[in-house]
């Protein structure tokens, strides 16, 4: 119980710190919403600056402390206001969230599965063919920036071979529906961004999983299993992998932050209209309310995952509960 309260306490403190940073950073960025509208949209009379400053309250000087507490209160009650385009922030986020959630969720699970499995098998057959090729290769690829892999895939499969679409989440003119052709369309559009994310993240899982496996395989209880004459798959999965996977589970949460960050770059590269792309446009548009809400969403996602991973570890490994 003490473990849980401590973790929750830490979570709240981190959240508060993140909220405060989120309050300060956009305010020290050069420029403001009114001049950003002028810089962004075409055909706006420069004389509109006055009107836009009124609209966005640019020259309204408010008490910073008061604004800060208002902001915290608004964050807690979910009142994020309107974006620079005058759409409720929550509507805007709700429209893009499913796309990013699906893209990041599915790719992370695939990367985790591939990475862990390859890690387990390559450690089991240490020095084998698989062990000699896959882990080093994927680990090298994992050090590439995700947008670089994205651009490479884009160039090969979309531009040169013309097999897969260049950008967007589904074909222009397609009507979203739960039909096979539309789902197929969505999957072909998600393929390249998805593969980019899988390719750069799978390697990290392999590395840690393989190392854990090797350590675990040297344990006495594994020898015991062998001595008992258990089938080797059972030793591999139940005896070794089950114990070796613990650090990877914690890593899973850590990774999520990396994947979410990567998804911003990937969505930008592929013009994939998810949260990451929205984050990018909100920054260039100097869209304060949207930027802050998105930052909060990202921070919360990572913090909640870390918290869940802590609980999960505690559940799987009794030793951590006393720590």
């Amino acid at each position: 119980m003490r473990y849980v309260t401590r973790r929750v306490g830490l979570f709240l403190i981190t959240l508060w710190a993140a909220l405060s940073v989120n309050f300060i950073i956009p305010r020290v960025m050069p420029g403001n919403e009114a001049s950003a509208v002028l810089a962004t949209y075409r055909g706006v009379n420069p004389a509109a600056l006055h009107a836009l400053q009124i609209e966005f309250g640019v020259n309204v000087h408010q008490n910073l402390i008061l604004t800060y507490f208002q902001y915290i209160a608004n964050c807690l009650t979910g009142q994020f206001g309107l974006t620079a385009q005058r759409v409720p922030v929550l509507t805007e986020i709700a429209g893009k969230l499913p796309w990013t959630l699906a893209l990041v969720g599915v790719t992370t699970v695939i990367a985790f599965a591939i990475g862990t499995l390859v890690g387990v098998v390559s450690a089991w057959r240490r020095g084998g063919k698989l062990d000699g090729i896959l882990p080093p290769m994927l680990f090298i690829v994992a050090t590439f920036p995700v947008f670089f892999v994205g651009l490479l895939l884009l160039y090969v499969f979309a531009v040169t071979l013309n097999w897969l679409p260049l950008s967007s989440n589904y074909s222009i003119g397609a009507t979203p529906s739960l039909t096979l052709p539309f789902i197929g369309d969505v999957l072909t559009h998600a393929a390249l961004p998805g593969i980019s994310l899988v390719v750069v993240t799978a390697g990290l899982w392999i590395y840690s999983m393989r190392n854990n496996m090797i350590t675990t395989l040297a344990e006495d209880y594994v020898k015991m299993g062998r001595a008992k004459g258990l089938p080797s798959w059972r030793i591999m999965i139940d005896y070794a992998a089950r114990n070796a996977i613990l650090p990877n589970l914690t890593g899973f949460a850590m990774q999520l932050g990396y994947v979410l960050g990567g998804s911003i770059l990937v969505e930008y590269t592929f013009s994939y209209p998810g949260l990451g792309y929205l984050f990018y446009t909100s920054t260039t548009d100097h869209d304060l309310p949207l930027m802050q809400a998105l930052f909060l969403v990202y921070t919360l996602a990572v913090l909640v995952c870390v918290l869940l991973a802590d609980f999960l570890t505690a559940g799987l490994d009794p030793r951590t509960r006393d720590a």
Partner: protein, 579 residues
């Protein structure tokens, strides 16, 4: 070769004329010199065929998905409502002039307009027989309401019309049942464009029920207007418009508009928008397409055309408060050292033509241009002579310096991601270096760039005005009027005689206005307050396979890009399906 470009700023009415390659390696070919001549089409403007049908697809990168809001006073969404749904009182065509040099005006929701002799009162007669798309009759009260709404909520007054927002408009009133009189605190001819053309009229019976001080945040998801189209369905990725069957311009045997459906997809990237155009899926493009000849035109040369009418100067702004750049000889040397044709070819693939020192954009504003005033010349050796005559001497490093030892070494601020500007500035840097002037390019994000240019925290800046108007006045005044220092007068030019010329303009006759612009051209050509380099253009492509009636160089009846409002509405009423 396929190009993958991403504009720096989202367009879709977003100002995406400058482009940033998302993939350096995809773009890492040589920028092939492309044909810069506009193609001509056969179609004319007013060829009503009496037929209705077809589905027109618009191709214009929006950079973000649609918000499905249509508030005509929200600059981030109004390109999807003005022209389609909302209409102005009169249409002012900035690309066409009458014989006396005044812009061509077409009555729209007003049937006529007249100025008082001192140009301080404008009377507009409002058209009868027009109905809003919900069936309510349109009246002069709607016009009165619209302009009063701009006063009640200053955030709507995007053209700063009202005196409270530092404009000249002091009152608007009904006269009889069908006339509206606008009164100004000074001669205000130049405001005709903003009152008549740039203010969309909204229905009183709908908007008056909203909070009048917060109309700028109104979502207007189901817009009710007088325009040729009705917004039928909107999703994040597409807006579908259907023709307004009760449109006021329609007559028996003369249906307007003739195109039954218009679709406006949201394109997040330039690449996907260009691909869609090249595949022939869209007919009306407002896209920057590298190598347009091979990528777009060559796939169907008989039906695909483009026309890039220039409307604004892209200029080098010297900060006149800088003691070295405040020296006329230095500015003359810079102007003479730059080969504008070279910049146009190498920086802009020839799509944007070279500019001239009078500040008059050609051929668009030809009527205002006087060749005898033009001092534009490329003459590097004379540039050096000018510097020497002004007391500058070349140092051992090849850079000129004055007697106090101050070197002609400057930074040029530009906007990061505007790759065509970067290419242009590379040419300019080399050419200036050749005459002993050292410049370094410093790219900034557009937001800080805007602030720096407005506040004067730069030495040289490369830039342009955001909007054109019906005549050079609308570009030159923001650039040179001393009252615009702090906003659009980047170079901080201050001259009481020039200010007086601008102040006279709104009360002058057409002949006097021409004289005034000639005198301002002289200022531009002799004082070089800023140095125009190339002329910014409107990107516009069209396909005549399914539709005719497009604006063309020989029939420039409207500004052709779809984001140009309300011109887009004029084009929509002129297009017709061909079988």
């Amino acid at each position: 070769m396929v190009w993958t470009w991403r504009p720096n700023r989202n367009t879709g009415g977003r100002s995406m004329r400058r482009l940033k390659p998302i993939t350096v390696m995809v773009a890492a070919g040589a920028l092939a010199a492309a044909c810069g001549s506009a193609s001509t089409a056969t179609s004319g403007g007013s060829g009503n065929t009496g037929k209705v049908g077809g589905k027109l697809l618009i191709d214009n990168e929006s950079g973000s998905t649609w918000t499905c809001q249509f508030n005509p006073f929200n600059p981030s969404v109004n390109i999807t409502s003005i022209g389609f749904v909302y209409e102005p009182l009169e249409f002012v065509n900035i690309l066409q002039t009458n014989a006396d040099g005044t812009p061509k005006v077409t009555p729209w929701l007003a049937t006529s307009s007249s100025w008082s002799s001192d140009f301080t009162a404008l009377t507009m007669t409002i058209r009868s027989g027009v109905t809003w798309s919900d069936g309510t009759p349109f009246t002069a009260n709607d016009v009165l309401y619209t302009f009063n709404a701009l006063k009640a909520d200053p955030a709507l007054d995007l053209n700063a019309l009202w005196a409270v927002n530092s404009g000249p408009l002091t009152g608007v009133a009904l006269q009889g049942s069908d006339q509206v009189v606008f009164t100004f605190n000074a001669p205000a001819q130049s405001y005709f464009y903003y009152v008549a053309d740039q203010t969309p009229i909204i229905p009183q019976h709908i908007w008056s029920s909203l909070d009048q001080t917060k109309l700028d945040t109104a979502a207007d998801t189901t817009p009710v207007g007088t325009g040729p189209y009705l917004m039928s369905n909107c999703s994040q990725d597409n807006i579908k418009y259907l023709r307004n069957t009760h449109y006021w311009q329609s007559k028996p045997g003369h249906p307007v508009p003739q195109v039954a459906e218009v679709d406006y997809p949201a394109f997040l990237s330039n690449t996907s928008a260009n691909l869609y155009l090249a595949q022939g899926q869209a007919q009306w493009g407002a896209q920057y397409i590298p190598n347009i000849q091979s990528y777009y035109i060559s796939k169907s040369p008989s039906t695909r055309h483009y026309w890039f009418p220039p409307t604004l100067n892209v200029s080098l702004f010297p900060n006149l408060n800088n003691p070295l750049l405040g020296n006329l000889a230095v500015r003359q040397a810079i102007s003479m050292a730059i080969n504008r044709s070279e910049v146009s070819q190498r920086g802009e693939s020839g799509y944007e033509p070279p500019a001239n020192q009078t500040g008059i954009v050609l051929p668009t504003y030809q009527a205002w241009y006087d060749k005898s005033l033009d001092t534009t010349s490329y003459n590097p050796s004379k540039a050096e002579q000018t510097l020497q005559a002004a007391g500058f001497t070349k140092g051992s490093n090849g850079i000129y310096a004055n007697a106090a030892g101050q070197q002609l070494s400057f930074t040029i601020k530009s906007i990061s991601g505007y790759t065509d500007w970067d290419a242009s500035l590379q040419v300019i840097t080399q050419e200036l270096k050749a005459v002993g002037i050292q410049v370094t390019v410093q790219d900034e994000d557009s937001d800080p760039y805007t602030q720096d240019t407005q506040n004067g925290t730069f030495q040289l800046a490369y830039g342009e005005m955001p909007v054109a108007g019906p005549g050079p006045y609308y570009e030159l005044r923001p650039l040179l009027f001393s009252g615009s220092i702090g906003s659009t007068n980047y170079e901080r030019y201050k001259s009481s005689s020039t200010d007086a010329l601008f102040n006279q303009y709104s009360g002058a006759t057409p002949a006097q206005q021409l004289q005034i612009i000639h005198q301002i051209s002289t200022v531009m050509a002799q004082d070089l307050p800023l140095i125009p380099i190339v002329e910014g253009v409107d990107w516009y492509q069209y396909d005549t396979t399914s539709f005719g009636g497009w604006p063309t160089p020989s029939n420039p009846y409207a500004q052709p890009p779809v984001w140009s409002t309300p011109d887009n509405g004029v084009v929509l009423t002129e297009l017709y399906p061909v079988s």
